[in-house]
């Protein structure tokens, strides 16, 4: 595997390989000294054109725990403000000798372009509405940690699917691993066409919740919504939010997930996020181990795992 751009590049076997390797890095992360020398001498740079806390910190922590050197690039303090193009920025960074570039950009496809411009490995940390593969991998790992396997699980992905790269990567990953995915959203927050998506669609959350093994709530992405897609946030919460009353419909083993950052009181009630079935902080913890696994596979293993 040379780059990680899309979940589709991995395929079911590649995903399994990442998840298996993640077990090792969960063990490493639990140690008193959570660090191994596997990527000593490698340099990983994060190139983030969009705001991020958890993904950037998570990648950086992962790289550091593998003993790689990290460099950080954020738009606000860089030459991008002087009008430098993405291509020139990438060329400049690559000229300093980096082994991997972690890219986030508000436009879909940018990581693919970056991969054409550099010899370094490229990891997609989110491109527009398109994909966020490491999020999908850490979600698969978190579900597997609780339920052993995704095969046959009923997963409801609820909320702003239209603007969500998390939803796109997760639909791919969950279905590749054999889960049945149902999207639950108002029609205005679904993509214009779902042709080719291996999913069912519902507009009735109360009907879906009792049958779901996993309820995956998406963040209401108000910064990406350019038109009036909802009458009001209160109406959205009333129909599609996981409120305290609605949480009573959940099965005892049902897992509640959210990619963060949460809008408490909008898509998820404040106290629901702290229920025993909520694995939201596990997702964050597993994120570091999953990203260690991905970095190791790409930079360290010397193996060839497709892609």
């Amino acid at each position: 595997m040379r780059h990680l751009l899309s979940v589709a590049d991995l395929g079911p076997d590649g995903i399994e390989e990442v998840l298996r390797l993640t077990d090792n890095f969960v063990e490493v992360s639990a140690r008193a000294i959570p660090r191994v020398p596997a990527l000593r001498g490698k340099t990983v740079v994060s190139l983030f054109y969009e705001d991020s806390t958890r993904t950037r910190l998570s990648f950086e922590t992962a790289a550091k725990r593998l003993n790689a050197d990290t460099m950080n690039f954020s738009v606000s303090s860089s030459s991008v403000n002087k009008g430098e193009s993405v291509r020139d920025t990438v060329t400049t960074i690559a000229a300093m000798g980096v082994d991997a570039i972690v890219v986030r950009h508000s436009s879909a496809g940018v990581p693919w372009q970056v991969a054409r411009w550099t010899d370094a490995a490229v990891l997609n940390a989110g491109d527009g509405w398109h994909e966020h593969p490491t999020q999908a991998l850490l979600d698969c790992y978190t579900i597997r940690e609780r339920r052993g396997s995704l095969a046959g699980l009923r997963v409801a992905i609820v909320g702003d699917v239209k603007h969500s790269r998390v939803a796109r990567s997760n639909v791919l990953a969950f279905s590749l691993l054999g889960a049945d995915v149902t999207l639950v959203a108002p029609p205005t927050l679904l993509p214009p066409s779902l042709a080719g998506w291996p999913v069912a669609v519902s507009h009735d959350l109360d009907d879906v919740l009792p049958k779901a093994d996993v309820v995956y709530l998406l963040r209401m992405q108000r910064e990406r919504q350019t038109e009036a897609l909802l009458p009001s946030l209160r109406e959205y919460t009333a129909l599609y939010g996981l409120t305290r009353d609605r949480a009573k419909l959940l099965g005892d083993d049902t897992i509640v997930m959210h990619p963060g950052p949460m809008n408490r009181g909008v898509e998820i009630a404040a106290e629901v996020a702290d229920l025993p079935g909520a694995v939201i902080t596990r997702q964050v913890a597993n994120g570091v181990a999953v990203r260690m696994a991905v970095l190791f596979l790409i930079l360290g293993s010397g193996g060839d795992l497709g892609g």
Binding site: N24, V28, R35, V36, G300, S301, G302
Partner: protein, 171 residues
């Protein structure tokens, strides 16, 4: 070596471990993934027969500590499991075959990240020579001169020496 020879060698190594450490106080066994793991289990059984003590057993995978990462495919075989404190213990590393010594070097680095043992000893079933590092075993089942291109397999049935071609043909 057949299965009987293997059993006798394990019993002898167990006696040597007891003698060398003047008992088993503070001793732990750590099997290297993957070949050392079954051997460490059998050594622990032998030690129990001799001294009546259950010696703690752990397993160690050294993939992340290898010096050939990036040069060849390196993937861990299993998750390291050391469910006890190492600091102050006498650790006996157990592996099936000692060859270049690079796995043992990686294992010594890895142990450092788990604690500071009082001492580290090395037990191997086969020492086949060709060392590339200043490492020697404390307990050896058998010294077995080999050519570099030969393969040595240790199973419950005994020890088998072959070539790459022979191994490929058996698959």
């Amino acid at each position: 070596m057949d299965a009987e020879d293997l059993r006798r060698a394990i019993t002898r190594i167990a006696h040597e471990i007891v003698e060398h450490n003047q008992g088993l106080a503070g001793c732990v066994l750590i099997g290297l993934q993957t070949g050392g793991v079954p051997l460490s289990g059998r050594l622990a059984e032998a030690l129990k027969q001799i001294e009546g003590v259950d010696v703690p057993i752990g397993t160690l995978d050294v993939a992340f500590y290898r010096d050939d990462i990036g040069l060849r495919p390196v993937l861990p075989e299993a998750v390291t499991d050391i469910p006890f404190e190492l600091t102050g213990k006498a650790v006996v590393l157990v592996d099936d075959v000692l060859f270049t010594g690079r796995t043992v070097r990686a294992a010594l680095d890895a142990l450092n990240d788990y604690g500071r043992p009082r001492s580290v000893q090395l037990a191997v079933m086969i020492d086949r020579g060709h060392r590339e590092l200043p490492i020697r075993p404390d307990y050896v089942g058998k010294n077995l001169p080999t050519r570099r291109d030969e393969m040595v397999d240790v199973t419950a049935d005994g020890v088998d020496v072959g070539t790459m071609e022979k191994r490929a043909a058996q698959r």
